[in-house]
Assembly symmetry: C2
Homo-oligomer: 314 residues x 2
């Protein structure tokens, strides 16, 4: 079943200990779409400028991603400049040129209306809510956000959180959103704001899923039952070339797998968390989307088995 | 089979967000011994002062720990004062009164000579090496250290590392010891210094075991084979009352389980890493050794199953 994703399609200029790349295709919606495309159909809503060519777009269309919802506007594409150093867990932003993204108003093509799964990538919560309202009949809504929206657009973000089946954020964002330093209490605080489930990403340490008692539908025989948290590992990587997009690739693997399954159960959710880690680990291996462009489903499933092997007792 | 442990038996004065305790029994050897005592016999070598009473010592003897190697010296017992705040991942040391520990010279009772497993808790590497040399026939040597010895006693520490079958340290210590920020490269760097295996503890994120190609004996049919790293979870705890001794309790659970097994294989090592996390999680639930004093093997095995449940796919 198809996922509709709204988010940024961008150019990134990146410096990491492994080298530098100028204006390569990036953006949350791009990474998410590529990662999810290995599991299910993906449709993108976003905006690019006149400098975004057919060749740039082919990174998505080569993977079968439906790009008719990417608006081509007069002006330049959103351009982010950043660098990483040390343990590379956090990017240093050197420049954010919003360009055509500054006036982005999401338009949903008629052909996208039958999408069953909605992903609200990290953009202004006002836009996230607008798209959600335009897609009232989706089966599931999953979203991302970041510290900027948590700190300065709290009320708008809270309106989005009430709409979410699953929120994906990292440790720092969960602590900030809940004002709790303990991660279990932070998870409880975030779930109380509305999301039925929560995936907290720990970077190189993996991710933990937390569930409210609203997480699973009664048809699963699980109404009112709150499953225990689930901890998925990350693959220890000897070389992280570029962590850009790892979180969005995690989201794509996670949600792509969920959307590909006939039922929604705790086990499917746990497996999805593993696939999230798998896709996040691939994203780090080369610059930008390079690794995701050449990836195969066989490689993904082999790494899934590696994830199982490195974390499971016999 | 019995473990001989050498390390600190101390008084701790602690402040955490949950409260304060004055001069309660602590020390690396204490936590290690209590945690390991649920799996195998434990014999302690350490030193205490005149303020350390039979009642204090009964915390160990009540768990069947052999304390005849604890020397009672004139003066006061080693006394550490510290506090925790925020996410409680790191202690702030407010005072270190070495007292009788300043002139500690380990003496090994004759009855300890047949110990098969040696644990060198975090003390001066000169003393660690001295004890190791006095116990040449043990089957396995496992050790711990800390940033202080890594930074300022590097050569002495390196002599100890060559003697170790397993080194247990945390992320920061692994990075410091190897001068590598990437954790896989850090593990390779540490293993190159001598330990056959390495367990890197990630605090609330669990632990990862790394193996050299010398990790397992040829009798296992594994000579020259380097198993993949193994990632064990930590239990997300809603309340961390006092993290003091969590790392030493991890070591006790890990090594106690290893010493209790008839064979030493990758699967036994992986299971031991899980038991390490289990004992570390219990240690945090109450102040000092309180939780370890009342714990039962049934509770330990129930939590082991919880660890499996929160990290394993069906």
């Amino acid at each position: 079943m198809s996922i509709l994703v709204v988010g940024s399609v961008a150019f990134d200029t990146l410096t990491t200990p492994s080298g530098k790349r100028e204006k390569i295709v990036g953006g949350a919606a791009t990474y998410f779409s590529l990662a999810a495309s290995f599991f299910t159909g993906v449709r993108v809503i976003g905006v690019v400028g006149e400098d975004f060519t057919k060749e740039h777009e082919s990174i998505l269309t080569n993977r079968g991603v439906d790009t008719q919802g990417i608006e081509h506007a007069p002006g330049l594409t959103f351009h982010w400049t950043g660098s990483y150093s040390g343990s590379m867990n956090e990017a240093k932003t050197l420049g954010t040129d919003l360009n055509v993204f500054a006036t982005f108003s999401p338009k949903i093509p008629a052909a996208y209306q039958d999408s069953d799964f909605l992903f609200l990538a990290n953009i202004d919560p006002v836009l996230q809510l607008e798209v959600r309202k335009k897609m009232p009949n989706v089966k599931m809504v999953c979203g991302d956000t970041m510290n900027y929206w948590i700190a300065d657009h709290t009320d708008n973000l809270k309106a989005v959180l009430k709409e979410l089946d699953v929120l994906l954020i990292n440790d720092g964002e969960a602590r900030m959103l809940s004002n709790q330093s303990n991660i279990v209490k932070a998870a409880e605080g975030v779930l109380a704001l509305g999301p039925k489930s929560l995936v907290i990403k720990h970077g190189e340490y993996g991710a933990t899923s937390f569930f409210s008692n609203r997480a699973f539908p009664p048809v699963e025989g699980l109404a009112g039952i709150t499953p225990r948290p689930f901890r998925a590992p990350a693959l220890p990587l000897a070389e992280v070339v570029d962590p850009t997009g790892a979180g969005d690739s995690f989201a794509g693997g996670f949600y792509g797998y969920l959307a590909s399954q006939p039922v929604f159960s705790p086990e499917v959710f746990r497996t999805a968390t593993f696939y999230g880690g798998v896709m996040g680990s691939f994203a780090c291996e080369k610059f930008g989307t390079e690794r995701l462009q050449t990836l195969t489903r066989e490689e993904i499933d082999a790494r899934f088995e590696t994830f199982r092997e490195i974390s499971h007792l016999s």
